[in-house]
């Protein structure tokens, strides 16, 4: 029974932290949804323990805990890949923006060069 209580507490903390971040607008709702999903998933796991045990013996893994761990790790890996893709896109955008800003800020021309080209050829 201790395990269930432990998981319950952790899931509640998870949920509270996520909701607090959303409240302070430090976390986008879409990401909040993801992590809320994780907390809910933990609740489900508590209730579904017999199912997990049956499933694990069906796949041939001895303990249900291992199954949960494997799935959790798999899930985290997928989330990480997704975030990396996201960061890559942000990176590209930042780069593009920096280039645009550089061009918008304009070109400094040589001091006292009356022949300075102005780009209007």
């Amino acid at each position: 029974m201790n395990l269930e209580i432990f998981v319950l507490v952790v899931a509640c903390i998870n949920l509270a932290v996520v909701l607090e971040f959303v409240r302070r607008r430090k976390l986008a709702e879409s990401f909040a949804l993801l992590w809320t999903g994780v907390a809910v998933g933990a609740f489900v796991l508590i209730l579904a323990r017999p199912v997990i045990d049956r499933f694990s013996s069906f796949v041939g893994i001895e303990s249900g805990t291992s199954v949960v761990f494997s799935l959790a790790i798999l899930f985290l890996v997928i989330v990480n890949i997704h975030l990396s893709v996201h960061v890559t896109r942000l990176d590209d955008r930042v780069e593009e923006l920096a280039t645009e800003i550089a061009l918008l800020n304009g070109i400094r021309h040589p001091d006292g060069d009356e022949n300075a080209p102005d780009g209007s050829r």
Binding site: E95, A98, T99, I101, A102, L103, N105, G106, I107, R108, H109, P110, D111, D113, N115, A116, P117, G119, R121
Partner: protein, 249 residues
Amino acid sequence: MSPTEGSPAAADTLVLIPALNEQATVAEVVHSAREALGCDVLVIDDGSDDDTAAQAVGAGAMVVRHPFNLGVGGAIRTGMRVASDQGRRFVLQLDADGQHEPLEAKRLLDRVVVDGADLAVGSRFGNAAYDVSWGRRTMMRLLARTISRRIGVRIDDTTSGFRAFGPAAVAEFRRDYPTEYLSDTVEALLLAHDAGFTIVVEPVQMHPRQGGVPSSGRTRSAVRLLRLWLVILIHPVRAERRRRAADEP
């Protein structure tokens, strides 16, 4: 417009000098480039926190400034946009640390202006590397062999930042130029080859750096090199995808 001391192509040419904290050398490089080529010079200040921009302007260059460091590739991309916006047909890329000889720049530029090549790369003679470790030399050689085979032109110095671009290359690279470290030199070659450009290699001599700090530590360069190999390996598939995307209306 600018004085056309040299060939009539001088006004059509923009010299790009990416510079990051090169206050010690940039003025001299700008000066000698203008003297030797008679072209306008654009220094792309890649987020320097020293006096690079002022030094460059003082030496008679135009300067455009990145808000923060984007790397050499990013600088070239910015430079290509400026060149293309100004209607320049030719671009010469030069290092700000004085490694490249302006007189050789003339020769390099002539390969695109006179001979009509799309991309000319200044390559050091064979392995005339002065300070290079065994591992690095082997790596460079392997890189050279792989890239040479891909693009069908023998090139020893794939990471050379001493290049001249013709009108088609300026138009192509205006749209996009690889910005990641090492991609800006090596991947650009592959992209040029995909675009069907004529690539020529011009043997040049290079000076040791006159100033500035060489970039990055060991682990970091190893990761970057590994990344580059991934780019090279995956490139044929990407090229295929890009072609198909271009075919679709």
